[in-house]
């Protein structure tokens, strides 16, 4: 039991997904962005659009 929780602890403190390798890049001529950064920016745009469109709970405006 102690060994299992130690192992779990190690996994949690380490990384489930290992990002410690050279990054992937999106290249178009002089434009370059890492896939990680690109995903963050795209996610921001998606979340912004969702925030505008998704209905907000609670009574509709009188």
């Amino acid at each position: 039991m102690g060994a299992i929780s130690m192992r779990l602890g190690e996994v949690l403190l380490g990384a489930v997904v290992n990002l410690n390798h050279p990054a992937h890049y999106f290249h178009r001529g002089w434009f370059q962005i890492s896939v990680a950064n690109l995903m963050v920016i795209l996610l921001m745009i998606v979340v912004f659009i969702l925030a505008l469109f998704l209905p907000f709970p609670g009574r509709r405006v009188q």
Partner: protein, 228 residues
Amino acid sequence: MSTVEHKQWSARVRESAEKNLPPEQLLPDEQPVYVHSWIYVFGVLTIAAFAVVLASGVWLSLEGPTWWHTSKIGLFVNSLHLWSVELFFFFMVIHLWGKFWMAAWRGNRSMTWVTGSIAFLASIGAAFTGYLSQQNFASQWIASEGKDGLNSAGVGAFFNVLNFGQMFMWHILLLPIVLGILVVIHVLLVRKHGVVPPYPVEGQAAFDTGPEAVVDVGASSDDEGGAS
């Protein structure tokens, strides 16, 4: 409330606070009905992320700046600090987008926008000093590159990014204080002026008349009577 003119500073401060932010306005239990969209939660999400940044930073401070290189728990707490910073910027920028497209500076709310945008820029500075404090390859590189921009502006002579001690103190003390003050003022301004109303429907002048009002705001924003 007393109408006697007080010369006492304490009384003046208290009465100004009461006048500008009566308790039911400082912490209201209701919002105008037009506040009804998910875009409105990104301000509070930004503040929540800031709280997690501060808490994880405090935890790192307990053990010192080199702990996270030699301890698995330290590395985990550093990860908490890094990811809460990423979330902080994520939410803050979406909050900025929302406030821009709502023209949230209308109706005497220019200072809310001003304090918010200065807080954004100060956050970038705080993140920069954080990256410089990592004491690993990334911080070496960022320092050796960052010095050129700052030196070219004459700032590097006073703000030496190669000086770990200086950058670390800006990061854990000076900039958090500045950011904290900006955030508090920003939120108090929102409470004082209320959430910006919608652009008026055509033909209706129920309230705030849109961008034209901003012209007046420019003239009046120098706090008439000191109680703006």
